[in-house]
Amino acid sequence: MENSSYWQENLRVIKICLVIWFIVSFGCGLLFVDILNTIQIGGYKLGFWFAQQGSIYTFLALIFWYGKKMNDLDKKYDSGE
């Protein structure tokens, strides 16, 4: 029982991460790139920036957030690891 609610919460964390993962890479970097390119930040067109820089920074943030969330979950369910 406890295991399965752990698993449900685990899945929720992964889902949130994957939605953001999809939005920054496939969304901002590919599908909406032309629209975002109309916005300029410094020398970067925004869509181009997402494709070559922004998506990678977001991936980094995601992976650390995921690690922290999962450690909290393990603590909550008192993993004896």
Binding site: W7, L30, F59, L60, L62, G67, M70, E81
Partner: protein, 579 residues
């Protein structure tokens, strides 16, 4: 001997000496040491080792060159390779670590309670890994022949000897500690020239910011705007918007690279080296920091290399340089045949345009951009020497990881797991070393006699990993009911569709003339290039597996229990440690 050569010898042989010293210090004593470094590597160390393992000669040498010439289209490699890593770290690595076995085929064999599934995985793994090694070996040969001016063959032999020494002796333990050193060498070699060049061009030493800055020539124009202007003037596509094929092709290409990368076994194996699931998660985080360092610098390296190249040939609009006054690096690379000029209009000046009729830069190999970059920017010789050592570190570290994946799948999965299960540990360790030695010789042979289809097989390697290994692992973890028949049918179907597509456009087994639909873009399914087809293969895999599962009985209860166990935070972490 000139100054550059002396520096290069110092950099290359200094780093090789370091790898040897580490190999002697970290010899493997047990199979757990050999396959998984005894499970005792700290997350920070493992992060660096993963970084070095992950970033191959392709990342170090080829990627920035591809970006330089593809512009925005090159983003598929940046997002694909890093995004795939995110998938691996969140969806696969923690559970596979919890399950606690040494290899990917072993995990699939356990989860789908099937030797057939294990064998299918072994075959995919070996084909994908061998393909990769050819690329690394070629990288070693090229780096040696260009920088130390030894024969390509001799360079390759030296590379083989170095890998042999630390990989065969140290196994995963030796490889891990060597890779840590190699990471430091390669990242230093990559970022130092980038910092110099970024500072020269924009006044900002941080390449990631320099790329978005104005030029330091006082014009106040942004570097990227100027680059767009220069390339479009000569008829090339605008740098910041040029697409690679159509939008759908870029989408499929990115997705294929992502799931293909996530399914590459030599990187997954790295997560078996840490002591706990928590450590697996934090290694993943550290590793991405180390990977992102190179991957966020690469776009700056690419754009600035293109900018410098254009500027050298045409310092101002209409003022092309005379061929007779070309710089030294131009002559050096002409000698290798990777750069070629042909004076078509006979005016003695160099014209570089997008139009094949007037373009006189008849060959500009993309792979030379990173290696030539420091000389194009007139950087000091020690920086150029460092780049040589860095390229070798990138190629050797990845080759070693791949060799380990191959040797473990043969000695551990095929022999110990299937053919001779009662083999003792000592024999297995011995066998692992023998197989690895044979693999090195085989990889060396392929590096010396690269098969004509070497370039085409990269599509195959990613296609294999994307369409077979990745879906099987995902279903093994996220479904409790997926059974052996579904998984095997899915793998075979995904693999079949992908191979058929690659073969029909690139020739059966890449033999020229046998491609029955030709390499023509017009025949591509929905405009998706063969390189990008792995994503479609993966979808076929999932669908077929699901349909077969629906018409057969689900996985037995003990398998569902096993899945519950590796999903749960509790319970013994079945150890890749030998206590």
């Amino acid at each position: 001997m000139d100054e550059l050569k002396i520096y290069t010898y110092i950099a290359v042989f200094g780093t090789f000496g370091l790898y040897f010293a580490i190999a002697i210090w970290a010899r493997a004593g047990s199979t757990a040491d050999f396959y998984a470094a005894g499970g005792g590597v700290t997350p920070l160390q493992n992060g660096m080792a993963i970084g070095a393992d992950w970033m191959s000669a392709a990342s170090f040498i080829s990627m920035a060159g591809l970006i330089a010439f593809l512009g925005y289209g090159g983003s598929v490699f940046l997002m694909g390779w890093t995004g795939g890593y995110v998938l691996l770290a969140m969806c696969l690595a923690p559970y596979m670590r919890k399950h606690g076995k040494f290899t990917v085929p072993e995990f699939i064999g356990d989860r789908f309670y099937s030797k057939t599934a294990r064998i299918v995985t072994i075959i995919c793994l070996i084909v994908a890994s061998v393909t990769y090694i050819i690329g690394q070996m070629k990288g070693v040969g090229v780096a040696f022949s260009r920088f130390l001016e030894v024969e390509y063959d001799t360079g390759l032999y030296i590379g083989m000897a170095v890998v042999f020494f630390y990989a065969v002796l140290g196994g995963m333990k030796g490889i891990t500690y060597t890779q840590i050193a190699q990471y430091i060498v390669l990242i230093t070699a990559y970022t130092i020239p980038a910092i110099f060049i970024s500072f020269q061009l924009t006044g900002n030493p941080i390449p990631q910011l320099g790329l978005g800055s104005t030029l330091a020539d006082g014009s106040g124009v942004y570097l990227l705007d100027k680059l767009d202007m220069v390339v479009t003037d000569l008829g090339f596509q605008e740098y910041t918007t040029s697409k690679l094929g159509g939008s759908l092709n870029m989408f499929a290409y990115t997705l294929s690279l992502m799931i293909g990368t996530a399914g590459l076994p030599h990187v997954i194996m790295r997560f078996f080296t840490v002591p706990s699931v928590k450590a697996a998660r934090s290694s993943a985080g550290y590793a991405l920091v180390f990977i992102a360092l190179l991957y966020t610098v690469a776009p700056a390296v690419g754009a600035m290399a293109r900018f410098n190249l254009m500027n050298t040939i045409q310092p101002a609009a209409g003022e092309n340089i005379n061929y007779a006054e070309r710089p030294q690096w131009f002559k050096d690379w002409e000698r290798t045949g990777l750069l070629a000029f042909e004076d078509k209009n006979g005016d003695g000046k160099i014209q570089y345009t997008a139009d094949a009729k007037t373009n006189e830069m008849v060959k500009v190999d993309r792979d030379i951009m990173v290696l030539a970059n420091p000389s194009i920017a007139n950087l000091p010789n020690w920086v150029i020497a460092l780049v040589a050592a860095g390229g070798l570190a990138a190629a050797l570290s990845t080759a070693a990881g791949l060799l380990l994946a191959i040797s473990s799948s043969i000695s551990h999965d095929l022999m110990k797991g299937i053919l001779t299960p009662d083999m003792d540990e000592k024999t297995e360790l011995m066998l692992g070393r023998v197989v690895m030695s044979i693999s090195i010789l085989f990889a060396g042979y392929l590096g010396l006699n690269p098969p004509g289809f070497a370039a085409g097989t990269v599509a195959l390697a990613f296609g294999l990993a994307a369409s077979s290994i990745f879906p099987a692992l995902m279903m093994g973890i996220f479904s409790r009911t997926m059974n052996d028949k579904g998984a095997i049918a899915g793998m075979v179907a995904g693999l079949g569709v992908t191979m058929l597509y690659v073969f029909q456009h690139k020739g059966i087994m890449f033999i020229p003339g046998t491609s029955f639909l030709g390499g023509l873009d017009a025949n591509w399914f929905l405009g998706i290039s063969p390189n990008a087809f792995g994503a479609v293969g993966a979808i076929v895999n999932f669908v077929v597996a699901y349909l077969v599962l629906k018409s057969t009985s689900p996985a037995p209860k003990e398998i569902a229990d096993m899945v519950d166990n590796f999903r749960s935070p509790h319970g013994e972490i079945a150890a890749a440690q030998d206590h």
